[in-house]
Symmetry: C2
Amino acid sequence: MTIGIVGVGLIGGSMAITLREKGFAQKILGSGRSEKSVDKAMELGLIDEKKKLKDLITESDLIILSVPVDALKEMLPQVLDAINDKQVVIDVGSTKEGFLKVIKGHPKRNRFVATHPMAGTEYSGPEAAVRDLFKGKCTVFCDVEESDKDAVALVEKMYDDLGMKIVYMDAVSHDLHTAYVSHISHITSFALALTVLEKEKEEKAIFELASGGFESTVRLAKSSPDMWIPVFKQNRHNVLDVLYELIYQLKHMKQLLVDEEYEEFYKLIEKANEIKKIIK
Amino acid sequence: MTIGIVGVGLIGGSMAITLREKGFAQKILGSGRSEKSVDKAMELGLIDEKKKLKDLITESDLIILSVPVDALKEMLPQVLDAINDKQVVIDVGSTKEGFLKVIKGHPKRNRFVATHPMAGTEYSGPEAAVRDLFKGKCTVFCDVEESDKDAVALVEKMYDDLGMKIVYMDAVSHDLHTAYVSHISHITSFALALTVLEKEKEEKAIFELASGGFESTVRLAKSSPDMWIPVFKQNRHNVLDVLYELIYQLKHMKQLLVDEEYEEFYKLIEKANEIKKIIK
């Protein structure tokens, strides 16, 4: 099978590595808004051929749209306009509700499968692509009842080859849950980085003292705004809901510290510790 | 040499493993407020003998106080009262200014070396002790000019055997910098855990969808209140300063999202990305 990847970066590139190795893809075509990025993907051997989007669509059995969610919203209707009844199109975006509304009722909606592999690193671009990025992780399929059974089956096979566990969910629930388990983590990490950069003027001290705890909390702050601004924009409502709650929790802790209410603060941490039950 | 560890948990226990292996310690004595914990440390082979605090002090060449910083503040003057002019005492606490004031002018102040190994995990107790916890990490020595040269040299040798890089700093700077690179990361992690536990009622969704990003941001929320409340208490002033800034940053992001000022938000993330220069 020939697969066409639009946006051969961290996600698209990592998929290419494993899908070729597993024999799922015999040929991999690449396209993208950045010429430089696609050239780099060629150079790294992630793709076999560089194509114009139009040609990639014509020549691919499976088209993977791995672009920021705002670009996806614009691009997807045009891609669906151009495919035939056998081809399959998927996205790998972090939000779903917005762009699924745009293609609702499209005559080729049934050839599209909405997926979100919950894997990544704080790096981006084709150089960030790594083997086994997806292995053992979870991928979400949204609103599968809108897609043809053969299309869903093909994409299930693909994620199976990537070593992922599939969870099925409606788009509205997906966007709500990802606000909690992914989007807000990035917000806190960006805010923490800004706090430290703003107030801690001795960079050398940060550099020398930063221990594992700081690094793991702040590492997401290296993530690209090109990916995340569109996510926050598309999932604005849910992200704001969670953000209000987070600010409330921090203000509560601040007040307990101001008032030196350490017993109450102790209880709050014990409650936070309950996350152990959920995240091992 | 015989070393005595008061509080054989994550830090004390991990030290014991390596200091025995490296031959730095020929005999390791253990003591602690929790009988159960010391018994566990015996069972795990972390210590050779369980001792009452009084006997541990008498029989040890080097005494490592690995207890929460509030307990340290109470215990340290008594320990110094009981030692002779050859023995050396160290702490491994996350704050320094408060308890160093308490022992200022103590006739045995010169036999004490204030240290803070910047290493740890979100787990606690003797079962959490691991080999190589400290390797390649940084340890801070505070106000070394107050300690005898031979005492400092012995403790330098110990941290060298643990594989740590030593940084020298005054206690006031230490407490300020750790507020940024350690204490605030724990606050954000606790707040994030509480936010998710409060609002996301579908635990199954968190469990299935939680990806690497969420796990790394929230893992510190498993940390023990027994350790962290005393830290926040002792470093209240610095932690509050940083917390005000963090809340300000989050409120700013929230406002940009409310106003749909995505260009401004984009710039903010680009600024946060500068953390790359400091944390590789």
